[in-house]
C-alpha cells in the first residue's frame, strides 16, 4: 500500500470582504499518496486554486488540518512555512512568473539561494535541472528570448531544482497551444514517473487532466466527484 503524502482533514477556508466572511472551501477531506499525479478540476470559482494554495503552504485554512509528509503545515508560522515551502514544494504557474532580468539559469538557481550550497554547486544543479527539462542550451537566455513553452520549462526546472517531493501546478498549460501544452504535460508525467514527484495540478482542460493518474472535481467549494485514469 502506497504511503500517504498529503492528508487533508475537514478543512474550510473563508475569505473576508469587510466583516462578511465568504466561504470558499468547506468540509474538504482527502488523502494524496506519495508519487501520485492528481488533477483538480471544476468550474471557475469552485475553489481549485484555493485548495492548491493550501496544499502548497501559500495560505492557511480557516479550520481543519493539513499534514504533508506527517507535518502539520497549518500550524506553522509564516516564517517556518516559507522555510518549509523552500524545502518541500515546487511551484508551477500559468504565466511562468520568471524574473525577466535574470537568465534562465539564474531563474532556476533562485530557490538554491536559500540553501547553503556554494556558487559552483548552485550553478551545477541549476544546469542539471535545465537539462532535465531539455533546455541546457538556453541557460544564458533571458525569458524574453524564450518561447512560452520554453519559459514554462524553465519554471518547471526552477520548481524541481531543490528536489522537492511535491509539485503544485496551477493551470500550467493554460497559456500554451495544444502541442506545447502536451509537451509540458509529458514533462510533468516524466517527473512523476521517473523522478517520483507527487504532482497536484489545477486545470480546466480535460485533456490536461488525462495526463494525471486521478482527477478530483470541485464545485462550490466542495469535492463533488473523482475519476481514476
Amino acid at each position: 500500500m502506497a504511503e500517504t503524502l498529503i492528508e487533508i482533514a475537514d478543512i474550510a477556508k473563508d475569505y473576508h470582504r469587510g466583516k462578511v466572511a465568504i466561504p470558499v472551501l468547506s468540509e474538504i477531506s482527502l488523502q494524496i499518496e506519495k508519487g501520485d499525479f492528481l488533477a483538480l478540476m471544476g468550474p471557475s470559482g469552485s475553489g481549485k486554486t484555493t485548495l492548491l494554495n493550501l496544499i502548497g503552504g501559500l495560505d492557511t485554512p480557516t479550520s481543519g488540518s493539513i499534514s504533508i509528509d506527517g507535518e502539520r503545515i497549518d500550524k506553522l508560522t509564516q516564517g517556518k512555512l516559507a522555510a518549509w515551502r523552500s524545502r518541500h514544494v515546487g511551484f508551477v504557474f500559468q504565466f511562468y512568473n520568471l524574473l525577466p532580468v535574470l537568465t534562465a539559469e539564474k531563474n532556476v538557481e533562485l530557490p538554491l539561494l536559500l540553501t547553503n550550497l556554494n556558487r559552483k554547486e548552485r550553478k551545477k544543479r541549476a544546469l542539471a535541472a535545465l537539462a532535465v527539462v531539455g533546455l541546457q542550451d538556453r541557460a544564458s537566455h533571458r525569458p524574453t528570448e524564450l518561447s512560452g513553452g520554453q519559459e514554462q520549462r524553465v519554471a518547471i526546472a526552477r520548481a524541481i531544482v531543490s528536489d522537492p517531493g511535491l509539485l503544485v501546478c496551477d493551470e500550467p498549460t493554460g497559456d500554451l497551444d495544444r502541442a506545447t501544452a502536451d509537451e509540458i504535460l509529458e514533462l510533468l508525467q516524466l517527473l512523476n514517473r521517473e523522478y517520483g514527484k507527487t504532482i497536484v495540478m489545477v486545470t480546466h482542460d480535460p485533456k490536461a487532466a488525462d495526463h494525471a493518474n486521478h482527477c478530483l472535481y470541485l464545485d462550490k467549494g466542495s469535492l463533488s466527484g473523482s475519476q481514476t485514469a
Partner: protein, 384 residues
C-alpha cells in the same frame, strides 16, 4: 552576498529609469561634496600654520578704512619682514558688466610682497616710476585687447577724483603668474596717484599685508598686531590670505546657511524623486516579489533585498558624485583663490556615505515594508 546578483539585476530592469535616477543622485552628491566642503572651509577657524603673509583688515567691516601709518607701526614689529597694502577701487570700465577687481597698491612693496606676479624688469620699473601706471593680467589684456601704453579709463564710482572726471591710467605692465592659484583678472594701480587725486580719505588704505620672516611665528605676530591697535579707533583683525578671501566671500551672506539651504532643497527633491521611483519599481514587481516569497524567501529576506536595492542605487549614484567633487575641489583649490585650501575631507566623505545610507533607508523602507507584508495569494491572484 549570494543575493548580490539578484539585487544588482534591479538596476537593469528599466535602464533609462535607472540611469536618470542614478544621474540625479550623482548630481546631488556632487553638489553635496562641493558645497559641504566650501561650507566647512568657511566655518572653520583660521589656520596660521605655514603662513608667511598676513592680512591686516579693519576689525568690524572690510569696508572701513585703515590709516596708512598702521603699516609703519606693523613694519616695526619684530619678525615682520615687509609691509604693503591695497585698497578696493571698484570703478566702471566701459560699462558695469565689464567687471574685474582693481586695487591701488604701492608698487615697490607690492611687487616685493607678491613675486608670483611676473613682470619684466622694465615693466616693474615703469610701474614704480609712473604715477598713473597700472598693470593687468595677460588674460585680461587679451580679453580687452589692451597693450602696453594704452590708456585705461575708469569711472570712479566709489572714489571720484578731485576733478570729477574719468580716471585715466597708463598700462605699463602685463603680468603673467607663477602658478594657477594666482588670479589673473586683476588690475593694480599706483596707490600714490590714487591717494592724491581722490576726493577724500587720503592716507587710508583698505587692508595691510605683512610678510613675516618665520611662518612659525605667524599666529603670535597676528595676535601682536591686533593687540597693538586694540585701543585705537582703528582696531584690526589679522588673518591669513585664505581666511581673508573667505571673509570677503562671506560678504555675500551667510555662506553656511546658503549652502545648507541649497543642499536641503536638492536632497528634498532627490528624496521625492528617488522615493517615487523606488515605490514605482516595487509596485511593478509585486508578482516577482510574490514568487520569491512563494519559493521560500522569508518576509525579512524580501525586506532586506528591497532595502539593499535602494542602498545599491544610492551608493552607485553617490560615490562617483563624491569622487568627482574631490577631483573638482583639488582643481579649484589650485586655480581659484577663494577655494584655496578647500578640500573634500574624510569627514565630509563619511558624512556623504552616512547621508547615502540614510537616503536609502528613507526611500527604501516604505516599499520594502510593502514587499515584506505582501500577501502571496493576493499578489499572485491579481497577476493570474
Amino acid at each position: 552576498m549570494k543575493y548580490l546578483g539578484l539585487i544588482w539585476s534591479a538596476l537593469y530592469r528599466k535602464p533609462l529609469r535607472s540611469f536618470l535616477t542614478l544621474a540625479s543622485i550623482f548630481v546631488a552628491f556632487l553638489l553635496f561634496g562641493l558645497l559641504q566642503s566650501v561650507s566647512v572651509a568657511f566655518s572653520e577657524g583660521v589656520d596660521f600654520s605655514g603662513v608667511d603673509r598676513l592680512i591686516i583688515a579693519p576689525k568690524y567691516s572690510i569696508i572701513d578704512p585703515l590709516p596708512e601709518n598702521h603699516a609703519v607701526a606693523i613694519n616695526a614689529i619684530t619678525g615682520v619682514e615687509l609691509v604693503s597694502h591695497r585698497s578696493w577701487f571698484g570703478g566702471v570700465y566701459q560699462d558695469t558688466s565689464q567687471f574685474f577687481p582693481r586695487w591701488p597698491v604701492p608698487p615697490e612693496s607690492f611687487l616685493a610682497m607678491y613675486p608670483e606676479y611676473l613682470l619684466t624688469d622694465a615693466e616693474k620699473a615703469a610701474f614704480v616710476q609712473t604715477r598713473t601706471g597700472a598693470i593687468i593680467g595677460r588674460p585680461l589684456a587679451e580679453t580687452y585687447n589692451l597693450k602696453l601704453g594704452d590708456k585705461i579709463p575708469l569711472i570712479g564710482d566709489i572714489w571720484p577724483n578731485k576733478d570729477n572726471t574719468v580716471w585715466e591710467f597708463d598700462l605699463v605692465g602685463i603680468y603673467d603668474v607663477a602658478n594657477e592659484s594666482v588670479e589673473t583678472d586683476q588690475m593694480f594701480i599706483n596707490f600714490e596717484f590714487f591717494d592724491e587725486y581722490r576726493q577724500w580719505s587720503q592716507g587710508t588704505v583698505g587692508n595691510i599685508v605683512a610678510k613675516i620672516n618665520n611662518p612659525d611665528d605667524s599666529a603670535a605676530i597676528a595676535a601682536e598686531i591686533d593687540r597693538l591697535f586694540a585701543n585705537s579707533s582703528d582696531e584690526t583683525k589679522t588673518t591669513t590670505e585664505k581666511a581673508y578671501n573667505q571673509m570677503f566671500a562671506k560678504q555675500v551672506g551667510d555662506i553656511g546657511l546658503i549652502m545648507t539651504g541649497i543642499l536641503s532643497a536638492v536632497f528634498f527633491t532627490i528624496l521625492l524623486l528617488t522615493g517615487n521611483t523606488m515605490a514605482q519599481a516595487i509596485r511593478e514587481r509585486i508578482p516577482e516579489l510574490a514568487i520569491l516569497k512563494t519559493i521560500g524567501f522569508s518576509n525579512v529576506s524580501v525586506l532586506m533585498i528591497v532595502l539593499c536595492e535602494a542602498l545599491l542605487i544610492v551608493l552607485v549614484g553617490s560615490l562617483p558624485g563624491l569622487m568627482l567633487a574631490a577631483g573638482l575641489l583639488t582643481k579649484f583649490s589650485q586655480s581659484v583663490s577663494v577655494f584655496n585650501g578647500v578640500e573634500l575631507s574624510g569627514f565630509i566623505v563619511a558624512q556623504g556615505v552616512g547621508l547615502a545610507f540614510l537616503m536609502a533607508l528613507i526611500v527604501g523602507l516604505p516599499p520594502a515594508l510593502r514587499a515584506m507584508r505582501l500577501n502571496i495569494v493576493d499578489a499572485l491572484g491579481d497577476h493570474q
